[in-house]
Amino acid sequence: MAIRERLSGNEAVAYAIKQINPDVMPAFPITPSTEIPQYVANYIANGEIDTEFIHVESEHSAMSATVGASAAGARAVTATSSCGMALMWEELYVAASNRLPIVLALVNRALSGPININADHSDSMGARDSGWIQIYAESNQEVYDNYIQAFPIAENKKVHLPVMVCQDGFITSHGVENIMLIEDDKVKAFVGEYEPEHYLLNADERIAVGPYAVSNYYMETKRGQREAMLNAREVILEVAEKFEKMTGRKYGFFEEYRMEDAEYAVVIIGSAAGTCKAAIEHIRSTTGKKVGLIKIRVFRPFPEEEIARALANVKAVAIMDRSEMFAGTSGPLGAEVRAAMYQAHAKAEVVNYFYGLGGRDITVSDFERVYENLEKMAETHTVIGMYDYIGLRE
């Protein structure tokens, strides 16, 4: 029987780590992800897991040591947030290009400056081109489920890429929710023993990792990473299917909420989707207006065609970004969803909203106004500007 619990998102990730019992975890404290290594250190201190913790002196060293451990043949994980991941930047690319199946628990937090410790996707969005698979969660349940699924995805021989399991700082990382935990033996069987193919500590085969590759070879490396990312699409869905069989909980590239007949749609990532769902229920029950939501779960690889298909019949779309990219036009999700829709000749009017930067709250009534605006846009066929803000003080 599954176990009913009440856990924060950080506790849920730490609990999953305990169940998976990875070999090595180098980590460095940073709000709001600090609790994850703390809980793991407690499991270790009480002899509950075999994991070796490395008390690194920075996040750069955290990812460097994770790369070393993974290349050596260990199942290696770490956790971080915000500036911590910014300090890892160089190593994110090294991990991905060395095709190391590392799992990183990222608790999304705004990047400095000004320094801010709250939920914002600027950390992971900035790393969207680093070659990592990125999976986002709305709730504590989802981050737990995503974390467990990350291992069979990363370690699949057709993929061999690192996975970033993202959740919103404080909102889910510290918010306590009801959660269904999976039994230890089932988690262990689902994740399986890690059996690396080529690794430094293999007594039967000597290898060299991290070459200097000049222009004769570099480009093929990048093509190889793309191939792996393309393969990840299929593997992510296979793993989700297997996971559904085990738990009954269904996952895909994104969740379509009340989209079957939707005329007005929001596209969003992370915890604010829950607030949006409440708005949808309220609008539908009070006005009967056909409003829906697409909640992106997998941002890398980007499910371009699937998103375009899901938005094929709507009249207007609001793409919601919880991070800036200072293009002067769209945010990262806005740009990619727009591109997908353009390619698919979608007819909907599109607006891109910036919301929730640095943890600014977004409410049910904010989403109600978004849907009202979408309706106006569809009626008048006018979009005022490529982007707008929600909750910005004038």
Binding site: V56, L201, N202, A208, G210, P211, Y212, V214
Partner: protein, 315 residues
């Protein structure tokens, strides 16, 4: 039990051990870096397995250019500033996989970094690795500048050296600051073994220190002056003479710190004036111009001061 370094040193026998850094790499003729690597790796007992780490630098780009590697052992290069942290991860993986029974064999862990990757950008990563107590050896092949990018100044560059970022010019006499004393800093981490060395005629000093570093449990640090013909400006054939002058002038000192105990390994019978070390090198050529004549005594004073400090530290 007799330690490996307590066995009688037989130069011929040592040199006839199989090479663990294969020929055909792309390092320069007369490069001290490769001599350091070969000597240190030779100190591994035959049949012992090792994972070799490497910070980005001349050595890395010249010894592991895809698809060729010069290393007979498994090898990992990660980036410039994280050789310490990277090998920490490898060593920790080894401990846990061994504990879980997934690995039966014994491995040693040795990483190489230039002075740029060790004294400067990799300093924090090195300090962390030493403090955490990983059973590994960090070897700095110290050639006193960022040679891979073309002789830029590092904190290991000697005062007054002419580098591409501290060029000697009309109003400049080269690098302003004195060298950082990294071996002493690492010794202050209270690690079991720190050794500073360079090349001597029979290579006994470096070889023995490498044995101690590798076979002493816990973290060890070796700082090896490894001359660079291009950066220092000497004929490749002169490397051994340069090393001899470095230790006979006491510019470079040979010592070790064993469990906190400082030991001086070489004291020249006749301490030579620093000019003897400076004169054969292009990087110090400007010091012999009339307008810079007051600088050599200052250089000498710094050498003397450090030599005295070291002698006082050693028993």
């Amino acid at each position: 039990m007799e330690q490996v370094w307590e066995k009688a040193y037989d130069f011929k026998k040592v040199l006839s051990k199989p090479e663990r850094l294969a020929g055909g790499h792309r390092m320069c003729a007369g490069c001290g870096g490769t001599v350091t690597v070969r000597t240190v790796l030779r100190a591994l007992e035959e049949g012992d397995r090792a994972v070799i780490g490497n910070a980005t630098g001349c050595l890395e780009v010249s010894s592991f250019m895809y698809p060729y590697t010069a290393y007979e052992d498994s090898y990992i290069h990660n980036a410039f500033e994280n050789a310490g942290a990277t090998l920490s991860g490898v060593e920790t993986a080894y401990n846990v996989l061994k504990k879980k029974g997934k690995i039966k064999e014994n491995f040693k862990f040795i990483t190489f970094g230039g002075d740029g990757g060790t004294y400067d950008i990799g300093f924090q990563s090195l300090s962390g690795a030493m403090e955490r107590g990983h059973d590994m050896v960090y070897v700095c092949y110290d050639n006193g500048a960022y040679m891979n990018t073309g002789t830029q100044r590092s904190s290991a560059t000697p005062q007054y050296a002419d580098t591409t970022t501290t060029p000697a010019g009309k109003v400049s006499a080269g690098k302003v600051q004195v060298r950082k004393d990294l071996a002493a800093i690492i010794a202050e981490h209270h690690v079991p073994y720190v050794g500073q060395s360079t090349f001597t005629a029979n290579f006994k000093d470096l070889y023995t220190k490498a044995q101690k570093a590798i076979y002493t449990p816990g973290p060890a640090f070796l700082n090896v002056m490894s001359p660079c013909p291009r950066g220092w400006g000497y004929e490749p054939s002169e490397m051994m003479n340069i090393c001899k002058l470095a230790i006979d002038t006491c510019y470079w000192t040979m010592f070790e710190v064993i469990d906190g105990k400082w030991v001086l390994n070489y004291e020249p019978k006749n301490k030579l004036p620093i000019e003897d070390f400076l004169r054969p090198q292009r990087r110090f050529k400007h010091l012999f111009k009339k307008e810079n004549e007051e600088l050599i005594p200052l250089f000498q004073a710094e050498v003397d001061k450090r030599w005295e400090e070291l002698r006082n530290r050693c028993e």
